[in-house]
């Protein structure tokens, strides 16, 4: 194409595309804004605007906690701290300490998924800011509490293939390492030889 034709084509293209772009932004001027003016001019109360199942700050219902410590083991950042020891008169296994460090928590949901009774769960609350750093650790047990013992016939509330049976709960209560041998029980026997077949295949 000759230089003159390119010259005029550039001018024409510039004018047309600028005109088109300006009409688009003019049309934006007359559409509804999508801003939600948080926190004082929201259309509905703030916690209603968050969907169900939102992974907010954690909460623990200590009445249903079996002190299995599955949440503590599964947490990637170790923000849950549970202490179970023999206290009282006569001595009984009781939960004396249940603390969640909300500053460390990354709201991933692994703890609430592994909880057999749903005691630890996410609320919809997300406004947890505070002026004191120490306020960010939440304590859920003030005085020693008996862990919950679900009746043996009751099915676990959470629906997971690797859900613990009540039997496995009480056996793994006090020690972490005991759980490893118990964990291998629900595995299908057929899975074991399959694993060795795909062994060490670099691609």
């Amino acid at each position: 194409m000759s230089a003159v034709a390119t010259y005029f084509r550039n001018i024409r293209e510039a004018a047309l595309t600028v005109f088109d772009g300006m009409s688009v932004s003019l049309s934006y001027l007359f559409r509804k804004p999508i801003t939600v003016q948080y926190p004082d001019r929201t259309p509905e109360p703030i916690l209603d605007m968050v969907p169900e199942g939102y992974r907010g700050i954690l909460d623990v219902k200590t009445e249903t906690c079996t002190a299995c410590m599955a949440c503590m083991r599964n947490c990637p950042v170790q923000c849950i701290n549970i202490v179970v020891e023999k206290v009282g008169d006569p001595p009984k296994r009781m939960m004396t300490h249940f603390a969640i460090n909300v500053a460390k928590c990354m709201f991933c949901g692994l703890c609430s998924e592994s909880c057999p009774t749903g005691a630890i769960h996410h609320t919809k609350e997300f406004e947890g800011a505070s002026n004191e750093f120490n306020d960010l650790v939440r304590f859920f047990v003030d005085e020693p509490v008996l862990p919950y013992k679900p009746p043996k016939k009751e099915k676990p509330k959470a629906d997971k293939p690797k859900a613990d049976t009540p039997k496995a709960d009480t056996s793994a209560a006090a020690k972490q390492t005991a759980d490893e041998t118990a964990a291998d029980k629900p595995v299908e026997p057929a899975a074991a030889p399959k694993k060795t077949e795909t062994d060490g295949e670099p691609t």
Binding site: N10, E13, A14, T17, V18, D20, G21, V24, S25, Y28, I34, P51, G53, Y54, R55, N74, C75, P76, M106, F107, C108, G109, L110, E113, H122, K160, P161, K162, D179, E180, A183, D184, P186, V187, E188, A191, K194, K195, T196, E197, T198, D199, G200, E201, P202, T203
Partner: protein
């Protein structure tokens, strides 16, 4: 001053496009050796966002590492999840139910759209038009809401689990996704009329940072960067995984739309076209998704058999490859993540010779470089 930062020539000046800069997407530092406006040499300095993710992986179990893979590339975190799931599941031989496969693909493709929107929007912001950024983010809000409904979080979804996904989709999700899919292509057309066709934008992008196909292969580019040079290579087509073999979509390549083949405009257009293709994929998946389980059978503490394996998937930015070395224990022995932004940064110095400072911003944006992927 380190030797590689020495200026070449008495008239040159050393300029620091420092870690805090509005256009380097994240904290990356470039040391520029310029002759006025024209850059003679640009050296990237990385490591400002290093979080030791690969080291963290050696101290966590395979299931516990899942939320950390969100943060490998936090703009496209479902893709990180999928990469880890594919890597561990193939190595351990875990079966995944069909419904879970489809849900994974739906989530990944929606996340691909939202990642491309961020890439395209922030690129337009760097070139000067602020409105396209906000318009792109407005569309991304809808996807954020959808994925929030699905997984419970807005950025680091942690949606997938070894063996499936964590939650099932509801009818409301399906209905609202279809609503979004109907709304999005005309909105993207309007976005194109606002900025993609604009003559000033084309002039800023065309014929800048041309990457020849040979160079693209030599420097190991992947994803939209590679496809922008005309090479038709997409891991979803060439090494398919999940349900991609059953889906019908086009692999978008650059064709020299407004300039040479492989320039910044081509890479930009590849991303825009990929968004249209992802819409098609999500629509097909929503029609084809069967009923069934969403989690396969996985032992509570998974032990991957000893050995090593490299698995790669197509993330929004390119290839995300995870290399796991296992010694049969609960935690991996070594995890190495290969991301595409790192390869894209390697070609940066070659391309930046002779460009003006304003063009450097175009180069960074067109390669869609994000800092978390480079530094992990």
């Amino acid at each position: 001053m380190p030797e590689e930062f020495a200026i070449s020539g008495p008239d040159n000046m050393l300029l620091n496009m420092g870690p805090q800069h509005p256009s380097t997407h994240g904290v990356i530092r470039f040391v520029l050796d310029t002759d006025g406006e024209v850059v003679t040499k640009a050296t990237p300095v990385v490591g400002y966002l290093h979080r030791g993710i690969e080291k963290i992986a050696t101290e966590m179990t395979y299931a516990q590492f899942m939320p950390i893979t969100d943060r490998l590339d936090y703009v496209a975190s479902m893709c990180g999840n999928l990469a880890w799931c594919e890597a561990v599941e193939r190595m351990a031989g875990i079966e995944i139910p069909r419904r879970a496969q489809f849900l994974r693909v739906i989530a990944t493709e929606l996340n691909r759209i939202s990642s491309h929107l961020v890439a395209v929007g922030s690129f337009c912001n760097d070139v000067g038009g602020v409105t396209p950024l906000v318009v792109a983010l407005r569309e991304r809000e809808a996807i954020n809401d959808l994925l929030e409904m699905l997984s419970g979080a807005r950025l680091t979804y942690n949606y997938m689990r070894l063996g499936g996904v964590s939650r099932d989709m509801t009818d409301q999700f399906k209905r609202q996704t279809l609503e979004f899919l109907d709304h999005f292509p005309p909105a993207l057309d309007e976005f194109n009329r606002l900025i993609t066709g604009n003559k000033i934008f084309v002039e800023r992008l065309a014929n800048i940072a041309v990457v020849t196909p040979e160079d693209a292969k030599a420097y190991g580019l992947n994803g939209p960067n590679l496809r922008g040079s005309g090479i038709e290579f997409d891991l979803r087509r060439n090494e398919p995984y999940a349900v991609y073999p059953e889906l019908d979509f086009k692999v978008c390549t650059g064709e020299g739309f407004r300039g040479q083949l492989g320039d910044a405009y081509d890479r930009y257009m590849v991303r825009i076209n990929e968004m249209y293709e992802s819409i098609k994929i999500v629509r097909q998946c929503l029609e084809m998704v069967p009923d069934g389980e969403i989690k396969g059978k996985v032992p509570r503490v998974l032990k991957v058999p000893a050995g090593e394996r490299y698995t790669r998937t197509e993330s929004a930015r390119g290839e995300m490859g995870i290399y796991i070395v296992s010694n049969g224990g609960k935690t991996p022995y070594r995890v190495r993540v290969r991301t595409s932004s790192y390869s894209a940064l390697s070609i940066f110095e070659k391309l930046s010779r002779g460009l003006m400072i304003a063009d450097l911003v175009v180069v960074i944006g067109s390669f869609d470089i994000v800092a978390p992927e480079i530094d992990r």
